[in-house]
Subunit: 284 residues, 6 copies
């Protein structure tokens, strides 16, 4: 399963900034000292543990920006499940260049594959239901597009990308606006025809108020499964439901079984451990 | 304990890019729709769990860039240990602006505090020894300076910042250079007088070769405690020792007790879970 | 009527690039030569013709970036209707600085007010109906957020901001996908729950196919009023309708009277003539 | 007739920013959903109305940045007159990439061709005289180099590019400096030998003062044809004359026949309607 | 004598890049280690040798960007002649911040003052003639605007700022164009009315050809004083003359006495030694 | 002898900014006017005086960015000694493009070769000793990485690259910290294991205090040869010595003979005269 699209302009920018961060002013002192100029090498990037791979385009770009003549071949694709030891890239070219780009490539690959892998575990836990797992805006600053791509690689679905592409009325907005109904009325008056409106409700009373006023999606925040099931019942077919808050791998199954359409999980992007990859020189 | 320095130019750049990412072209649709123009609000940022706070300067900058008139006061400082519910910032100003900057501020704060908190747990585990906990280059691309700051906030020490400020000869370099001695000879010939040289060794034989040739630091990779203890004995006083590889909160104590000077832990920056913070409107 | 929000970070960036473009390497040669250093001046920006003002924040920012001590007061607000000769800003400060920033300020103000003014004429023409006037993506490259703001100042509504915040299936997509139904099935499978789907149809047959499959909005392209009226009848209440193509101030009234919900007009942003403003020194 | 030079570095920068604006964080949702990965397409860009083409290099760059493998062939060149339906580019490559770059390419092409076309109408209206049509600094912020190129494509001549490459003393400068003579004395003292000096005069008395003091060019502002003719007579051969203010396609002929050397027209860049182009998939 | 204008936007950009270069990722390790947080200091910047000061705005900006609360007072102004030991700035503020910005401030100040000082020596050497000393495009990449400002601070005059603000036909252009006359005809056909045309001639024959065709300025390249004098005689009053090539402090007087209008000196910007400044802490 | 590494990302950035500075908005007016479109040319870059070449990669990049089809061959390499008239590059391609990139290429090449050449003279003067010549942070703002590369091309060694990659305690730090011992204690407590510590001492008493406390390197500031010799004697083998201050080509030999390990020379980068190169069209 592929994660679909990764804007190539964003890939170029992010990799460039990451390389500038790692190479600094003087470059890779170690490779320059220890590796003879002009020496070629072949290497592989291999997984040290099983998971879902994501971010190969960023790894490829890291080597390309250091040296456009490096060959970078990928026997797998983003979204593929891999076992421990699996080779995800075969690299050949100038040895100094390969070693200089290694860490940036692995840092992107490990982080995004970690997100994809964690997502896939949530997705598997709810596979017997119709619920979809989706992400949040709790992403690493400046890496959101890549992390949302990784969520798709893991089988998840994306929530909104920013403050500007959908309306999500949360508790603080409701408080300032003066209640659920007032907030929804204001949102509908302001939103254009291309904008989806979602509102967070904490209680069934708030839910009823939202349903009465009408809205595209309700976010059911921190509700227990019983309450969720009742909330799903009250919303009917025309309003989608999203569960959120305190979702873990232990609790997600029960939540999914309540009939909610979506379950959003902040941990997918804010707390996924890295998936461990290493680069090994194979021929020198 | 403070983490010391955070380059203000880097803070400005990173926060700006993060806000551009979140606000997009159209800005915060929800706050613009639901919050009346000119409405003021007071809010607090509170921790939802205990830990070490890090990144307050980034949170402050997020509000400042959206609206320079927002007041942002911090009753604690980076590096402070906080309990659950602790307020780390008191905010006052235009309600729309406060809500628009919220997520960027929390994303930085949660991630960096998560790193500081995890670091502090490693530091506590080895507090009865002379070993120092330090980080690696396995950081989030483009956020390295902030993550290394967070490690210091947690009581850790920084390893090198990039490929350009120290020499670290790793297994791939040794392989290409033709052995430990050859790599060290090359590194010493190339390095200026301001550059520290460290070499990774996997065996005691490699260690002996490094000690014989002379080096500033040896990185003892993936050795068991018994081997580490013997390695420390062989290096003597003039060469520092660093243990690395497979370090966890379960194993770090035994590693520290072998007498190594440093223990480097990639997980500090690549797998620390977020520390949960929330923003609550208190007066509106 | 105000246009609402204009992302301050985008304003800063655009004004900075515009000033760099106009000042070049050597700055304002004329003011430096002809205006004594330290001389103060008061000036007004006045409209040379009636219309709707838009872009005051960009004008203000131009003066601020050249000299933060310049006072810039606005007796009107974006979205206000003004008569010929109306003063929209009163400026006071260093005379060189005022004259150096003049052209950039006027270029933004004239262009955006031109868009707001043209929009207001379309809006007035359909005011007796329920149809809303909206913009397109036919905007000036890199100025889209400002031009969409100007459309709102003129009473219009915004269509999507880019390729990434909504799905709009056009004739080329339908052709490649293999028909209306196939395109819609693919879009629904790919779209997350936060994404609105719209499809362009050229005939009533295509419309029927879209209605049968289900979609959020149909764009009725280049249809005559009779056909539009029939199309509105066939879509019913659950699908919104948008008319597009060949809309002019002469034709828009008849189109609106067919009952469509929206009318999108590319000319609002791609062909609006500037609204003429001038800066006059009043005291020197 | 070609417009000559378009700085390739500026082309790259502007197209990149325009693509980032249109693709956003998530890319072209519609093409990704409706167009199968790997599908190729052939397309043409065709004019929907007659005019002068300008901006092909920007259109080409848009496709190149999205996908360097797209073939982009142009049967015409910038500055060529084209009829309705004329094909100006033949494109072949990945269908998703072609559709993703379409709007940015068309937005640049339509805007610049609109400027070239309007310019050519002014140029034609004065072709029986020796007067040249030239532009002003009333250009779209950040697109000045391209718009001045388009003016050349239409047969016009460029006035100064910014505040820094020539001196143009306007009414506000004269007022602050204390008169025509004082302003000219100051300008000559400050200007280096590589800088042309022009002064705006509103009356024949001001003109006489400028001629007496000496200057390279006089800008005759808002004068009627009779006055212009007299002004030309008084300036003689050594000073060039430029007419400005209230120039329209209706009035430009009479102005040109007064014998002025140049006629500057702000409308060329601030109010030119777009020239309509479309992209049509021809083979899929 | 002041150098006039220095674009504040360019100052901000250049200082920011310079600080980022010097502070790197980790900041000023030494000051952070050795200077207690919160300690204040007063300091002066003093000249270690006599000369002309230039670049105070850049020095001021360096301290401002590190800490906006630092006070920076200048008892002299750019263009002033100073003796050895002269204090050019009094600084007060946070000690760490003062020391962190010191080197960037001094590097700009020393380099630009060195250029101003060398320029002033050339200017003094020709003060008894009407010849003006001017610079070339042989400047430090990316610092041209500042170096041309420094030339003005030293009493010199600026030649063109770039390839785009004047025409200067050099030997290579003449060779490709097919001779002096052909090059001039082409240049006049292409140049707008705001563009000065200069041509380089190596012989009196070439000069005669240029005079016959007409041009604004002739650059007399590498001619001996006798030849220069004859060249000045042949050009008459309507064409300005510029001597260039092999100009040194030893030869410039004789060149100036030939009657040429300008003498351009590449060494002003490409080989001026720094003027030595130091920062001394006075109160701590 | 090669200078080793030059970060290709920094080369791309610096050349791009330099070209933007020189080409401005309108490009190379002269070449566009005088050189027919499509004309090819061959050219050489030749040294006008003997020296050490440095910066060929930047020259190459200047031509590549203007026109990727230009051929640029280098018969020599950075660090090579060349005689007067030596050809360092053979260039072939579009004549306009070659001439447009010429000045930027020569400006980088001349400046860096000037630094390499001056460095080589210092290196030659001390070749009979074990002292190494090294640079300082007195570099051209934003060009430090290139200038330090040029120092290596001339046979010199690099001192630290910025404030962040080593600790150098100078007189101002000692004064604020309260003495040599206090400063060293603070530095050791703050420095990580990857950071070298150096301290500047002005007297033998300060030196003794530094030796007693322990440090990696002592910088002996402005000491006479006799004092330097005594200082070297007192430091012994474990602490390296660096002489600094008032070093000239006349004094460096005597300084080197005192036995110091390094001699740092600010003039290498802040006052090196350019090495003169020219570009000659050979075939057109």
């Amino acid at each position: 399963m592929s994660g679909g699209f990764l804007n190539p302009l964003l890939v170029q920018d992010a990799v460039r900034r990451a390389l500038e961060e790692d190479l600094g002013r003087a470059g890779d002192l170690t490779s320059l000292a220890c590796v003879p100029a002009g020496r070629n090498a072949e290497a592989v990037i291999a997984a040290r543990e099983p998971g879902i791979v994501a971010g190969l385009a960023l790894a490829r770009e890291a080597f390309r920006q250091i040296d456009a003549d490096i060959s970078f071949k990928t026997p797998v694709a983003d979204g593929h499940r891999i076992g421990p030891g699996a080779v995800v890239a075969q690299i050949s070219g100038d040895a100094r260049a390969v070693l200089s780009a290694e860490r940036v490539a692995l840092n992107f690959l490990g982080r995004l594959s970690g997100i994809a892998t964690l997502t896939s575990r949530y997705v598997a836990a709810v596979a017997h239901t119709s619920a979809r797992i989706c992400d949040t805006r709790k992403t690493t600053p400046t890496l959101r597009a890549f992390e949302k791509f990784a969520v798709r690689c893991g089988g998840g679905m994306n929530h909104r990308y920013g403050l500007d592409d959908a309306i999500l009325i949360k508790d603080n907005h409701i408080a300032v606006a003066g209640g659920v109904k007032a907030a929804l009325v204001a949102a509908k008056a302001a939103a254009g025809h291309m904008v989806v409106i979602e509102i967070e409700v904490d209680t069934l009373d708030q839910l009823d108020e939202a349903v009465a006023e009408g809205v595209d999606i309700v976010l059911l925040d921190n509700m227990r499964p019983d309450t969720l099931r009742e909330a799903v019942r009250r919303t009917g077919n025309r309003i989608k439901t999203e569960a959120s808050g305190g979702v873990t791998l232990e609790t997600v199954r029960a939540i999914a079984e309540t009939g909610v359409d979506m379950i959003s999980v902040g941990a997918l992007t804010h707390s996924a451990p890295v998936l461990d990859f290493g680069l090994d020189i194979t021929i020198r």
